[in-house]
């Protein structure tokens, strides 16, 4: 009913899965336009503050998923602490906006700089590790960021930051601004994936040694993926801060990291339309399940298990078949 993002799709597509080469490009493009259209029209169906709030959250969540997809899906680096970058962005923006009385948009350049630095600080030492070890270290960093925010005076300790100015006064306008920003972010992530750098990320995922042998500086590519993921997460954090106007360490727990990762895996690792669809499902399903009241997270969990059993490759998996150019 109230879908929210750019390249996400009608559910029937999984079944028909068109395979012709030319149609694929159009596929994703039309799916993206259709998703964007649904997102833009949704408020005409239901524009209650409740519905708008949920749709805005879902859009922000889709942006997070498209960012984590660069790290996990394209590059194959398991990151269990992605909420750290979300937190860094939200806090940087929140602190600057409240302390210096700045409009939210003005904090964006600072957020980009800080998240890039955070990406380098966390990535530089950890990306020398492989697979499981990397996952554990990212998990640790995710907790470090949250606990730091919990204890620093400047971040407001456990109660966090209040009174962050929104981008606009009305929830409808904020929703539309969010949709546009998120759509741009998703298109950006998708274009990045199809470029020289995006291909290099996939080479690293498939076989690091072979990638090195063809001249890909694997360490730099992994760091680039990490930085890109950090920037996407950080900018989503700005929207998050503006949306809720209050942030606290509780918003950036391991559960948050796990949910974003779940969206990526559920949708189909490496597939942009897939992870967006996954994010929409993960963020909207608990709301749609309110009917079953206390059992909703139970049902939610069961549904996720069923999806992964039936479609282990994800709802809308990445295809290697490519468009003729």
């Amino acid at each position: 009913m109230n879908e929210t993002k750019a390249p996400e799709a009608p559910r029937k597509l999984g079944a028909k899965a068109p395979r012709t080469r030319l149609s694929k490009l159009f596929d994703n493009r039309w799916a993206g336009l259709a998703g964007l259209l649904i997102a833009l029209l949704a408020p005409f169906v239901n524009a209650s503050n409740y519905a708008l709030s949920i749709m805005t959250s879902a859009a922000i969540f889709a942006m997070l998923a498209s960012g984590l997809n660069i790290v996990v899906g394209y590059t194959g680096l398991l990151d269990l602490g992605y909420a750290a970058f979300f937190a860094v962005g939200a806090y940087t923006s929140g602190v600057l906006a409240t302390r210096f009385d700045l409009p939210l948009l003005v904090t964006v350049p600072a957020v980009i700089v800080v998240t890039v630095i955070a990406g380098i600080i966390i990535g530089a030492p950890t990306l020398r590790l492989r697979s499981d070890y990397l996952a554990i270290v990212t998990l640790g960093f995710g907790e470090i960021i949250r606990i730091t925010a919990n204890n620093l005076p400047v971040t407001g300790g456990p109660s966090g930051i209040y009174g962050i100015p929104s981008l606009t006064d009305s929830p409808v306008t904020f929703y539309y601004v969010t949709v546009v920003i998120v759509a741009v972010a998703i298109i950006g992530a998708s274009r990045l994936g199809r470029s020289r750098l995006g291909r290099a990320m996939r080479f690293v995922r498939e076989d690091e040694d072979a990638a090195e042998a063809t001249g890909v500086h694997t360490y730099r590519v992994k760091l680039a993926a990490y930085i890109a993921g950090a920037v996407w997460g950080g900018l989503a954090g700005v929207l998050f801060a503006g949306h809720l106007s209050a942030i606290s360490p509780n918003s950036f727990t391991f559960l948050q990291s796990a949910l974003v990762l779940m969206a990526v895996v559920l949708g189909g690792m490496g597939s942009v339309p897939g992870v967006v669809l996954g994010a929409i499902v993960i963020s909207l399903l608990p709301e749609l399940l309110r009917g079953v009241a206390d059992y909703r997270y139970f049902v939610f969990g069961v549904l996720l298990i069923i999806v992964m059993l039936v479609r282990p490759q994800g709802l809308w998996p990445a295809r290697s078949k490519e468009a003729l150019k």
Partner: protein
């Protein structure tokens, strides 16, 4: 003129000496084979040259520049490509994307070109695809270029790996058992392919167990046994070398 100069190469893993004072050189557009029984240190020597292993001692120079301490991507940037003994394709990616990897170093495209789809992005992507197709034509790939590389038959995968190495436009190509697992007809095609690569002016170092192929294609053969070089010469010389015969067939005293 010498392109690759390996001298007094030593590689030890703890107490195990894998390569013990190996020296050989490769000239421009020359085909040199490295042969020897299993475990003689052939692939280890490749790994030293391409930066995957750090040699314990000795020097490796390519076109007069030392390769010691360089990471594999830097060695590739210097102009050396390689294939792997047990096929290392990017299995889930398309055949075309596999070969595009070879163009990685020469592709001048920034992140902003990619995000904004600038004319330069379109131009470089087109060029990269055209090159990949060119090299797939060159190696004579018959399979579907748009399907996942892992779905191709084994012999075709070998060709894709060589196309990927060639797309780098190297001056030296290291082939690690390119004919392993190929049938007779495919071996004949491989022989022809190796010669055509050399005719492009690319020097080739070949590790191969198929002696028929080695004898036909090589201009020079280096023979290793237990990490030591026991012969270096033209095929007909090496074939008659008593040390080589002993390494392969064993001597009376040991047998």
């Amino acid at each position: 003129m010498t392109l690759l100069e390996v001298s007094e190469l030593r590689l030890a893993f703890g107490g195990l000496v894998a390569i013990d004072g190996l020296s050989f050189s490769v000239g421009e557009a020359e085909i040199v084979s490295v042969i020897g029984p299993n475990g003689a240190g052939k692939t280890s020597a490749f790994n030293c040259v391409t930066g995957f292993y750090r040699p314990t001692g000795g020097t490796i120079a390519f076109d007069g520049q030392s390769l010691l301490g360089k990471r594999p991507s830097a060695v590739a940037a210097a102009g050396i490509s390689r294939t792997f003994q047990n096929l290392r394709l990017f299995g889930e990616l398309s055949v075309l994307d596999n070969v595009r990897a070879g163009s990685h170093l020469r592709l001048k495209q920034s992140v902003f070109d990619a995000l904004l789809h600038t004319p330069r992005y379109r131009r470089t992507e087109r060029a990269c695809t055209a090159e990949a197709n060119h090299w797939l034509d060159f190696v004579g790939l018959r399979g579907d270029r748009y399907s996942e590389a892992r779905n191709l038959p084994y012999g075709e995968q070998r060709r894709v790996e060589i196309a990927r190495a060639l797309a780098r436009e190297p001056r030296l190509l290291l082939l690690d058992e390119p004919a392993a697992g190929l049938n007779h007809a495919e071996k004949t095609e491989m022989l022809d392919l190796i010669r055509r690569i050399r005719d492009l002016g690319i020097a080739i170092v070949l590790i191969e167990h198929d002696m028929g192929l080695v004898m036909q294609v090589s201009e020079r053969i280096v023979v290793l046994n237990f990490g030591k070089e026991i012969a270096d010469g033209r095929p007909e010389e090496v074939r008659r070398d008593p040390a080589v015969i002993e390494a392969y067939l064993g001597s009376d005293t040991h047998a």
